[in-house]
Amino acid sequence: MFSRVLIANRGEIALRVLRACKEMGIETVLVFSRADAGAKYLEFADETVCIGDAAPAESYLNIPRIISAAEITNVDAIHPGYGFLAEEDEFAEICEESNIVFIGPRSEVMRKMGNKVQARKIAQENKVPVIPGSDDPLDDDDRALELAHQIGYPVMVKAAAGGGGRGMRIAHNDISLKNMLAVARSEADAAFKNSSVYIEKVIERARHVEVQIMADQHGNIVHLGERDCSIQRRFQKLIEETPSPGIDDAMREKITRAAVKIARAVEYTNAGTIEFLIDKDGNFYFIEMNARLQVEHPITEQVTGVDIVKEQLRAAAGEKMQLQQKRIEFNGASVECRINAENPADEFRTCPGMISQFAPPGGPGVRVDTHAYAGYEVKPFYDSLLAKLIVHQPTREEALACLYRALTEFTIEGIYTTIPFHRDLIRHGGYPAGNFDLGFVEDLLETG
């Protein structure tokens, strides 16, 4: 096992990884930007290194500075968390070349799965259904239009290298498609240094369900069940839960099998997530693979009892995985709310500022992952995630009751948060019955 790990991230996920390391007796090095200087979670690390100014490009996205920090602190391995460099195959490659273990899949697998067109081909080769659309990047507008007519509008224009909803646009006719192709290409070029885009059919009223994969370096691959992430606003997940209330055991069997098949095909190692869309008629479609830890991994941990970050560390250190698919038990239901520093009354505008009072909920069935506290200042430079409120109960009904009371207790003063919105959301419309899809939040916001 590693003796010293550098955590190339910040906020709640840096603390999450640090907790796993501490419990395994691994020393930790945290890097931080000047904007994060003084944050309390930094005090829990064995060593900290300031790597630059607030702007991510100057710090958390700055590969040379992070590698230098790893070198001067003599770490064995780097955990990238999620976001920032977590899916940068170049970063993983530089780690490999510097003889520092990158805690994640191999760079070549990241490169393969990070390119959506290629990932799609892999799924097709393995007989996993994909969304009707272009199999290759579309550099030619005429071919795009032809394909759009074939699969039917609306169609989605996506950046081949995108992720997390960035660079996605929906076209309803030829004119908008032409415009969007042009805009999407230039945006993708700016954001990902790769202007390739492709189009696919929009699956309306679908659910977003993803499967957690864990794999070691000895060919052992298991899935840890699925997560339903259909509660999204503008492609940003707000609430995730497991098991998905919208699928039956037969569908669960299909998607978990498909996920393991894809992971096996690319000889995947470490933790990863394979995302699917599931439509009303019971069709499922592979969308993409996230070759990293997900924000919402805790709900899977709650129902399986598996600590995914510890498994990541073990797998990256070359240990043989102790998990066996048949022995993994799924107990109860777990739901996560992302508590963001945003004002729901002002179109979810991010609102940085000083937290004057912070009292998280507690008691049975409640887990809170947060780096925030009374006196913490939310900075404008990074994403607005403040805390993840996770509940775990024997049944979904009990989980929602527990979630509601926990949201009632959760006190954050001094800034706006999404807590009141979550309280409304989980009692709205079809949500309590589990009857919702990707349009749920938009409908709630438009019609109230």
Partner: protein, 157 residues
């Protein structure tokens, strides 16, 4: 210059510059002003939203339910008669009977002002002060908690 006018001028200066105290001695005038600065709590809470409301869910988020009625300020010279127990407040000995006391009633220390029923026992509550009732704060048959103010009394001189 008129001294009052002078003081006003000094207060203006204090407000302008957020001063707590000002002391000025002139040949014909000596002034010392100290502002009553309240201690501020560090928890400020969330300011009410001051945004244009979009339709739908957003509209339901309009502010307004955060305001709380402040309890009526206790006037300095009045005495409170509080409940010494938890129970049900009765203004009269029996339903339909005359209330023990009303606004304007003169009280001696032993005047019974109400009954509080607790565990089926009727407890006569005595004024324990001398004076005149100026306000009744609890309705007949209303539950009261320990220490709850029942009457305000203007004390006898």
């Amino acid at each position: 210059m008129d001294p009052a006018q002078r003081v006003r001028e000094f207060i203006e200066i204090m407000t302008e510059h957020d001063l707590a105290e000002l002391e000025v001695e002139e040949p014909e005038l000596r002034v010392r002003i100290r502002k009553n600065v309240p201690m501020q709590m560090p928890f400020m809470g969330v300011a009410p939203a001051q945004v244009q409301q979009p339709p739908g869910y957003y509209a339901a988020l309009a502010p307004g339910n955060g305001t709380q009625e402040a309890p009526p300020a206790k006037e300095d010279n009045l005495i409170e008669i509080t409940s010494p127990m938890v129970g049900t407040f009765y203004r009269a000995a029996n339903p339909g009977a005359e209330p023990y006391v009303s606004i304007g009633s003169e009280l001696g220390a032993d005047t019974v002002v109400c009954i509080i029923e607790a565990m089926k026992v009727m407890n006569e509550i005595k004024a324990q002060v001398e004076g005149t009732i100026v306000e009744i704060l609890v309705d007949d048959m209303e539950p009261v908690e320990f220490g709850q103010v029942l009457y305000l009394v203007e004390p006898a001189e």
